[in-house]
C-alpha cells in the first residue's frame, strides 16, 4: 500500500472524522512564544510612524495649498474674473454648437 496516497474512505462520516480529529488536536501544544517586547516595540514604532506621516501630510497639504493660493492671487492680480472664465465659456459654447 502506498502510504503517500491519501486514503479517505467515502463511507466514513465527515462529521465524525472532524470531531475525532479536533478532539485529539485540542490536546496538542502550541509553540511557546514571548511576544511582549515585540508587541511593545511595534506599538511604539507604529505610533512614531503615525505622528510622522501626520506631520508629513500636513506639510505637503500646506505647501500645495499655499502654491495654489499664490497662483490664484497672481491670476486675479492680472486679469478680472470675467477674463479668466470667458475663454472657458466660449469653448463650452463652441462644443454645444458642434454637438447640435
Amino acid at each position: 500500500m502506498n502510504t503517500n496516497t491519501p486514503q479517505y474512505q467515502p463511507d466514513v462520516d465527515l462529521d465524525q472524522l472532524l470531531t475525532g480529529l479536533a478532539r485529539r488536536a485540542r490536546g496538542e501544544t502550541a509553540p511557546k512564544v514571548d511576544v511582549t517586547a515585540a508587541v511593545l516595540h511595534r506599538l511604539e514604532t507604529e505610533e512614531e510612524v503615525e505622528i510622522f506621516s501626520f506631520s508629513d501630510r500636513v506639510w505637503w497639504y500646506s505647501t500645495a495649498g499655499s502654491l495654489v493660493a499664490a497662483g490664484i492671487a497672481m491670476m486675479i492680480g492680472y486679469q478680472s474674473w470675467f477674463e479668466l472664465t470667458d475663454p472657458a465659456f466660449e469653448m463650452l459654447q463652441a462644443v454645444q454648437v458642434a454637438l447640435r
Partner: protein, 208 residues
Amino acid sequence: MRASEASLHHADQSAEPAEATSALQMITEEETDWIERSLTGNSAAFASLVKRYQQEVAAQMWRFSRDRNIHEELVQDVFVEVYRSLGSFRFESPLLHWMRKIAVRVGYRYWKAKDRKKEKVSLSQITYDSTEATSDQPKSAEEAGNLLHAMLEQLPPRDRMILTLIYWEEHTVEEAAEVTGWSQSLVKVQAFRARKKLKLLLQEQGTT
C-alpha cells in the same frame, strides 16, 4: 472555551449553565487595573496583560498557521489589535473571550491574504487515513492537529473559518454567529456547504 461536543448537531444546543459559569470567569480587578492603565498609555500594564494571555492566544493562532514565524507574527498582530481596541472593551465579558474574537478576525484576515496569493499545501503531501482518525487508536495530538489543519486548508477562508470555529474551537452556532457577525442560519448554511465541499475534496484526492 467550552468543552461540549464539537459536532454542529451538538453545537446547535444551548450551553449548559455549569459550563457557562466555569468558562465565563469574570474579569479580575488586576485585569481591570491593567486595562485602565494601558488606556492611559502605561506600557508596563499592557506588557503584563500580554504576558498573562500570550500562551492562550498562541494556542488559538496555531490553528491558523503552522509556520512558526507567521504564528508568532499573528500572535503579535492580535495584541496590537487588542491594544488599539481596548477602549471599546466594555468589561461585560471575560477579557480572554473578547481577545479570542479579535484573534479569529486576525486569523481570518491572514487566511484571506494567503488565499489571494494561492499558497496552499496539497493534502497529497500528507499521509492520512480517515479510518484511523475516527477509530480508537491513539494518534498523537500533534499529528491530529497537523492533519486537521491540512484538511481545512483546502477550503476557502469562509468555509475554513466556520469549520474551525465549530469543530476545533467547539463553538455553538450562537457563539460562531457572534464571532463572525453572521446570522445563526447563515452559520448553519455555511457549515453545511463547507462540509459538503470538504467531503468532495477528500473524495477527489482520495481517488487520485
